[in-house]
């Protein structure tokens, strides 16, 4: 461990830590817009400038490695004035539409403009870009809100490995683009939405979120994604019980903030009317088991071949369903032997669940006919 002093507080940090992270870990807030702990620091926003004793010029703390004995001041008159100027420059090229903005309350630029009391720019207001891109079903890109922090580019390169976007053009009109401005679907984008996750402003927004409520009006529910065995944690933002959008959260043990396209955008099944929410027993079996008094027969064309119709089934409890399955399975094994049964496991279960399943099939049922849906 090495000792450094930030704002007259001595703290101990692991060698290799950057000063910004060291400060944040110790509850000292240094303003920052382009830093993300999972990404290589880029030093673009210049909000995290600090003064280091013995150095003539301010240094970005996100790119400054802590060194033994370093003495750092984060709130000197000089760097506070520069920060204020930098926010002033940011808002000279960013619509202050906060009252109608979907990022209101969650926008990092808004937060700092508030903290530094910058209500509007003292320079001339001039938007460098007004491009609005709505080229895919998942998220929009509204460039007038973009502050070019580059987090989307870095997450796409460093975490996702898709390299779908980069800075394009130079000077004031620089913007984030796919190669040759092709639509995202024609780029190498996999629509994981990691860029949307890390964007500090309203430049990247889940399409479903737009106009659906301000951040503080939304309830949060954390859960585990049901799509696959990885078990990513995610958080649904809800309003009146409806999902508005899904996002990752930093302390999720498996996946951190990052999700795939299914977890992040593929939750619309939740409210579909034909979603299966409880076990069902087909009516002929239900009659045979005495669960209904109404006799019913399989039609000529097997229900197995056509889409199951809800009216051909009756709902039962999980206990009943498991009971029925167990009895029937036991009957088959008794009459025809274990080899008459085959098991098909699912990639949506965890490794442990799949392990128990095959154990059950081999030892309990007595068959080696076990397979898995992920076998392609």
């Amino acid at each position: 461990m090495i000792k450094i002093t930030i704002d007259n507080r001595e703290i101990e940090v692991k060698p290799g830590t950057n000063v910004l992270q060291a400060a944040l870990d110790n509850g000292i807030d240094i303003p920052h817009l382009c830093y993300h702990p999972e990404l290589v620091p880029s030093g673009g926003c210049r909000m995290c400038l600090v003064e280091v004793e013995g150095r003539p010029n301010p240094v970005p703390s996100c790119g400054l490695q802590a060194a033994e004995g370093m003495v750092i001041h984060t709130r000197t008159e000089q760097v506070e004035a520069m920060r204020r100027d930098i926010i002033d420059l940011f808002v000279s090229d960013h619509p202050l539409n906060c009252v109608v903005c979907d990022k209101n309350g969650a926008c990092a630029l808004q937060k700092y403009a508030y903290e530094y009391n910058v209500a509007e720019t003292s320079f001339d207001f001039e938007l460098s870009r007004t491009l609005y891109q709505d080229d895919n079903p998942f998220f929009i890109r509204d460039h007038q809100y973009c502050i070019l922090c580059g987090k989307c580019v870095r997450v796409c390169d460093e975490v996702v490995g898709a390299h779908a976007i980069d800075f394009s053009q130079r000077g004031f009109v620089t913007y984030i683009a796919t190669p040759f401005d092709v639509p995202l679907a024609e780029s190498s984008c996999v629509f994981c939405g990691s860029c949307v996750q890390v964007c500090p402003t309203a430049a990247l927004l889940p399409r479903n979120k737009i106009g659906k409520g301000r951040e503080w009006e939304l309830e949060r529910t954390r859960t585990v994604c049901g799509y696959c065995g990885v078990g990513c944690s995610l958080e649904y933002a809800l309003k009146d019980g409806e999902i508005i959008y899904a996002q990752g959260f930093a302390d999720a043990p498996v996946n951190g903030e990052f999700l795939c396209v299914k977890g992040r955008f593929g939750w619309d099944f939740a409210k579909q009317p034909d979603r299966l929410t409880q076990p069902l027993v087909r009516k002929d079996l239900a009659y045979e088991l005495g669960l209904t008094d109404e006799p019913w027969e399989l039609p000529e064309t097997s229900v197995l071949k056509s889409k199951p119709k809800a009216e051909n089934y009756i709902p039962v409890s999980w206990e009943q369903a498991i009971d029925i399955t167990a009895t029937k399975l036991a009957d088959i094994i008794r009459q025809h032997g274990g080899n008459a049964v085959a098991g098909l496991a699912s990639a949506r279960c965890t490794n442990e669940e799949n392990y128990i399943f095959q154990k059950f099939m081999r030892v309990g049922v007595g068959t080696n006919s076990i397979d898995h849906c992920a076998r392609l």
Partner: protein, 531 residues
């Protein structure tokens, strides 16, 4: 008795029409079966008299220019006994071998450009005949440490602009663990109006290659890159040819001259971004990424190209090396000042009588360069200021004309040595306009990564435009100064950090012009109100 005729065929000569002159010369020589050896050379740097033709007869050299195709015939007539008719003394630049009759040339001290305009850049033999690759062979007999020490002792400082001592940079690479090590030559030359590096490559490419070889030997680098802007097709062609020749000659490739040393050079063409001259952006560009600077540390010597230890030097820096090794570090250090050795080439342009490429010792007073060599302002106008260092540099006012050309002395004025652009401004020029011009360049060329540079320079530019269009207010000057500070101290790389210099220096020395421009507007306004 054969006569040697040299004709400058660099990019600037060609732009002045040298191709047609060459053709006229060649066909006349062929037709008349004259005993002439025609040699195409690089540029002598006499831009104000191009195309330039040198005739060497009985060891006596006469320099002519501008030589248009129509002037070829009378010129040849004069030299080959067909009379003097039609030749004007105005065509003669110099009749003396030492050029003492033409101060533009006579007062220079040429080191890196010594053979430019003298040898054929496509001929290895010509280079070898002028001690070519002797310095490299001499270095091979020294230890690498001794070579590094010699460069340190020479007091050579990087000619790319920042002036970092070259020997120290080499030592850092030498001591840095890891392999392979890369040596990169920065031939991006992005400053508008600068063409020293282009002229050096086009005139004497092997001198650069030899410097790189010595650097590779001293630092342990095994791979070389020359990053040259694509707008320099002739320089690239000359370099390609020179690299091929050097491979055949056995000084590039594996087991060089039987010493076990491996070193080869690849040319990488840039795509025309000024910021790609910045070393970290340049390395990204070579790697095939977007040329954007990154934070340092890590410095190139620790983690450079492809994450390996690397060193980047400017063309002129590397082209100085062979002379230092051959003539000794003391000779080189002795040319310059206490802290900085050698010579520096400048592209002298603007309102000057004699424009062109000029090489002078470090420590030369600006006055000597502008007046004695350049002949002062054109059309008898008054000197107002000298703009040095391109868009990252600043304006030195006429009253500081006795400032010497030295990294620290120039920095004290607010300007910088820079890479060698020197623009002479006369009394017709508006300094606010000059600041606007240079800032509009940097503003356009900002890579867009950091906000002080990307947005800050834009705001500064808008304020300058407002003042120029008679719409400025006095508070604009305070705003400008505030922005200069935030952009200069807050930007990530040298581009943004130096972008305010043209504004800062003009505000420092010509503040009244800003105030005047604003006051004029306010007076006009009040007059309008009163009317």
């Amino acid at each position: 008795m054969s006569v040697l005729i040299r004709i400058g065929m660099s990019t600037s000569d060609i732009a002045a029409g040298a191709e047609a002159t060459y053709q006229a010369l060649e066909s006349a020589v062929r037709h008349r079966q004259l005993p002439v050896t025609l040699k195409r050379t690089g540029s002598l740097g006499v831009s104000h008299r191009e195309p330039v033709v040198e005739v060497v007869e009985n060891g006596q050299s006469t320099l002519y220019g501008p030589v248009t195709p129509e002037r070829v015939r009378p010129l040849l007539d004069q030299h080959f006994g067909a009379g003097h008719r039609g030749v004007s003394e105005d065509w003669v630049i110099s009749r003396r071998n030492d050029r003492s009759d033409y101060p533009f040339l006579g007062l220079q001290t040429k080191v890196t450009t010594k053979l430019c305009g003298v040898i054929d850049p496509y001929s290895l033999d010509d280079y070898l005949a002028h001690d070519g690759y002797e310095a490299f062979k001499k270095a091979l007999k020294m230890s690498p440490e001794a070579v590094v020490q010699a460069i340190k002792d020479s007091k050579l400082r990087g000619r790319g602009g920042a002036g970092f001592p070259t020997g120290i940079k080499w030592e850092l690479l030498r001591k840095s663990p890891g392999s392979p090590k890369y040596l990169i030559c920065n031939a991006d030359e992005g400053d508008p109006g600068a063409f020293m590096d282009r002229a050096t490559i086009e005139g004497d490419p092997h001198k650069l290659l030899e410097g790189m070889l010595i650097a590779a030997y001293a630092t342990g680098a095994s791979r070389g890159y020359i990053y040259v802007r694509a707008e320099y097709p002739l320089a690239i062609n000359v370099l390609r040819n020179a690299i091929r020749q050097a491979r055949e000659y056995g000084v590039l490739g594996q087991n060089i001259l039987g010493t076990g040393m491996d070193f080869d050079i690849v040319i990488k063409e840039g795509a025309g971004a000024f910021v790609c001259g910045e070393e970290t952006a340049l390395m990204h560009s070579i790697e095939g990424k977007r040329g954007m600077p990154r934070m340092r540390p890590p410095y190139p010597a620790q983690s450079g190209l492809w994450g390996k230890p690397s060193n980047i030097n400017n063309v002129e820096t590397l082209a100085s090396i062979s002379s230092i090794i051959l003539n000794g570090p003391d000779w080189y250090a002795g040319l310059g000042t206490e802290k900085s050795g050698g010579t520096k080439a400048f592209a002298l342009a603007g309102a000057i009588q004699r424009s062109g490429l000029v090489e002078v010792p470090i420590g030369t007073p600006l006055r000597r360069l502008i007046y004695d060599i350049g002949g002062g302002c054109a059309n008898g106008r008054e000197l107002k200021a000298v703009q040095l260092g391109g868009p990252s540099g600043g304006c030195i006012p006429a009253h500081l004309i006795d400032t010497i050309i030295d990294y620290d002395e120039l920095r004290a004025t607010g300007a910088i040595m820079g890479s060698g652009g020197m623009i002479v401004l006369d009394d017709t020029v508006s300094m606010v306009n000059i600041a606007h011009y240079f800032l509009s360049f940097t503003q356009d060329e900002s890579c867009g990564k950091c906000v002080p540079c990307r947005v800050g320079t834009r705001k500064m530019l808008n304020i300058l435009a407002r003042i120029l269009h008679g719409q400025g207010v006095m508070e604009d000057i305070d705003r400008l100064e505030r922005l200069c500070h935030t952009v200069g101290k807050g930007s990530l790389c040298g581009l943004g950090q130096t972008a305010p210099n043209p504004v800062l220096t003009t505000l420092r020395y010509f503040r009244h012009e800003y105030e005047q421009a604003i006051a004029n507007r306010q007076n006009g306004h009040e007059a309008a109100l009163a009317a």
